[in-house]
């Protein structure tokens, strides 16, 4: 068969296959409260400090055909009100994340995690280009600001193109999944991890049972 014709048939077949979804609720552990957001000495905060963003967990699937894309789009994680805009960001492998500063004072995002060690240096409000880091190894990356000790966030790097985050109550819905059997993973921090098997077929939404904890590789 002529190659373009085969490609077209395969594409039509893929388009015709109804995608499904998986939904569930994670038993998120009680998250330790962040440190009190005050500066011991003056000079590093000149605006209003926002409350920290609510805690979330990351959810993703792995299986045949789910690997992260070769060139995922760039994602931004802003610093606003002397907080990271999100407490947890899930990104596919090879994603470049930029860190725009929306505050009038310097921020200095850094991570000394084994998954990704980087230091964005001091950068000011609306500075362009914003500092970036590319995450080319799956795992959990803890972010901090060198200047503002209370600022914390997590980037969860996954080798998958199907991922989402929970809400603060642990609820999630992962949509657009092609038919198949996959391993569904969820992770809150280094300790709270879950995995289970899910089968997607007929465009249905299936529920995931995360009452049993398991190990994320």
């Amino acid at each position: 068969m002529h190659f373009p014709t085969l490609f077209l048939l395969l594409a039509l077949h893929a388009e015709a296959a109804p995608t499904g979804a998986v939904t569930g609720t994670l038993p998120l552990p009680a998250r330790p409260r962040g440190r009190i957001a005050v500066e011991k000495y003056t000079g590093t905060i000149s605006g209003k400090v926002s409350p920290p963003p609510p805690p979330r967990a990351g959810v993703w699937i792995e299986g045949t055909g789910t690997a992260a894309p070769a060139a995922p789009p760039k994602i931004a994680l802003n610093q606003t009100g002397y907080q990271f805009a999100q407490s947890l960001l899930v990104v596919p492998l090879r994603t470049t994340v930029e860190f725009p500063n929306d505050d009038p004072d310097f921020h200095n995002v850094f991570s000394l995690s084994r998954t990704k060690r980087f230091d964005a240096g001091r950068y000011k409000k609306s500075e362009r280009p914003a500092p970036t880091a590319t995450f080319d190894k799956p795992g959990l990356v803890r972010l901090q600001c060198e200047i503002h000790d209370h600022m914390k966030a997590v980037i969860l790097v996954v080798d998958s193109r199907y991922f989402t985050t929970t809400d603060a109550a642990g609820k999630f819905t992962l949509t657009g999944l092609p038919p198949g059997t996959y391993t569904l993973y969820a992770q809150f921090d280094e300790k709270a991890k879950w995995s289970t098997s899910v089968t997607i077929s007929g465009g249905k939404t299936v529920s995931a049972d995360f009452t049993q904890t398991a190990t994320v590789p």
């Binding site: 330790p32 409260r33 962040g34 440190r35 009190i36 005050v38 011991k40 000495y41 003056t42 000079g43 905060i45 000149s46 605006g47 209003k48 009038p104 004072d105 310097f106 850094f110 991570s111 000394l112 060690r117 980087f118 230091d119 240096g121 001091r122 950068y123 000011k124 409000k125 803890r142 901090q144 280094e190």
Partner: protein
Amino acid sequence: MKALLLPFTAALACAQDGITFGPENGTFQIDIRPSLEAVIWSGDTPAPALLGYDDDAFFAPRFSLDIDAAAGENFTFHSTTRWDRGFDAGSAPDGELRIDEAFLRWRVFDDQRLNFQVGKYASFFGSWSGQHDFFDDPFLLAPLPYSQLIGVSPTSPGSPLNTGGPGGGAVPLSLKSKDQWASMIWGAGYGIGGGAFGSTEHFDYALEVKNAALSSHPDAWQEINFSHPTVTARVGYRPDATWAFGLSASRGSWPEVNAVGVDRDNLVQNSLGLDVRWARHDWIVSGEVVLTEFETASSGDLQAASWFVQARYKVSPGVWLAARVGQMLANDAVGPGGAAFAWQSDVWRTELGGGWRIRPSVLLKAGYTFTHTEDDPVAGEHLWGTGIGWRF
């Protein structure tokens, strides 16, 4: 080996955030964070700066307990309690327990426009006191204006000058007991008092009234006695985050004890400081100029000037190098016969430092300091320091 290292690794992973207490509704919260800093000093003796030991090497551990408490959105309390071998390493070789900071702060509005603070806390003068914590300061030693003895004695206000040397001039301070002499500014100046401060996007200000002069010893900071107060103010301007300029002024009685025939309120330390900071990406460059004047009863006004410039550069994530140079100069005092004589030797100091933040909660620092004091052949010049800080 892996089994042996596992508990250590686990402890490191748990470290950094301390312990937090408080109800879920967030109306009240207490954060407790212990930390350990351990520095090994070595080099010439007697040790330069304010270090108080006479050995070739000195081990200076410091255990700290930081407590932060918040009630509602606008009231916070902070305290720092330390056990170490002296506020200046070696000044209490058998160890001492101190409350270095304990203050209550009221933030009037949601932003930083107006805050009131009362208690024991670091001085608002200059910019260094705001970054003197182990994890914030790229060096192990305070800058020259904050850590160099000068020849005026706040414990002998009747005859405060450093005399008795050749020709009636100054005796090398390195030969004298360090606890008798002042520094232009003694460390972070944890005096007791109260004040107001605030910040907007481009300006900040601070005003405080404290119990002790900038030059006073740590012992004087503890006394709850405001009969001879010191008033300090600072205004700052930041065109944007890259540049910061500050102008500080302070005035207060410098004697720490009473003496017959001496009116302490007439013996005033006046200080003026200018600080500048430029930062961008991996660089932070900053400097200060401090001018100070000690009014005396019969020897004229003793004036000293000191400056320093320092730079820190991050060479890779968590690793930085730093350098600092500083100088101190002084005028001549008026002797009993009206002749001028040197009351303070000129001093040069050059420092190199490096740091490696192994983990967010663990920092290794090392530094070398060369201090040259004019006309003081016995003063220690070379000083090496290596330290580790660990926040639990």
